[in-house]
Symmetry: C2
Amino acid sequence: MNVQSASQENIARLAKLIKGIKMALLTSVAADGSLHSRPMATLDRDFDGTLWFFTSAGGRTADEVEEHRQVNVSYAMPEKQHYVSVSGTASLVRDREKITELWNPLFKAWFPRGQEDPDLALLRVDVEQAEYWDAAASSLVPLVQRSGLTGE
Amino acid sequence: MNVQSASQENIARLAKLIKGIKMALLTSVAADGSLHSRPMATLDRDFDGTLWFFTSAGGRTADEVEEHRQVNVSYAMPEKQHYVSVSGTASLVRDREKITELWNPLFKAWFPRGQEDPDLALLRVDVEQAEYWDAAASSLVPLVQRSGLTGE
């Protein structure tokens, strides 16, 4: 199997594991080194190597990731003992075309002013590693590694 | 209100928010700076300022927290839009008396060799900050700050 197809297969496996999970937890590192998590609504689109979330450009999440770009995104389905840990690099994206492409009116629940809200931004997470929790073995099993995903 | 009673009140509020949540997510920082999360079974005891979890002394979680002590512990009840983020300092505790005190036979699901397992250890998290997610405001609200918890 060549690097390209291994990478595609890893992406497809992760896409399948997180599909349909509506909320993720994003953990970031604050300026004082403490770790903080908050729920993030997931987008109803297939994972292709990059995760996207809507966020407030002036909010604390944006501040924290601009200071310290390494983040964790967790997906949980406790009723199935199903957990996925994703490690990546976050960046804030204010591109209005991308916002329009990814916007869904359902997000008005979090951003009542809608996609025209000047404070609305995207959080882009470039995935570097992903693991799933093997409940039987009580351990994290690598699913995606940087080399597998990017072919580096 | 004096510092001591403010501290006790903060602890009681956090205790109430996380009571009954059976699994938490622990996020730690690996040597390469990437953030990783995994589920941890919670103990059926009231929070008193310190969180305790059983872990494997030889496992990756123990390795990561010994290298980098700052961790996040998240508690989620998605069906109620209820999320709590706890920031603290983790340490590995191998004290057999403490293990006996906190052991519950239910933990055999994760540690089949039981409390005599020489690899069984405790992960102690001294809580420094805690926040809950205010769904209406889409923001984290401080619940416990270092000063409130310890009176520093």
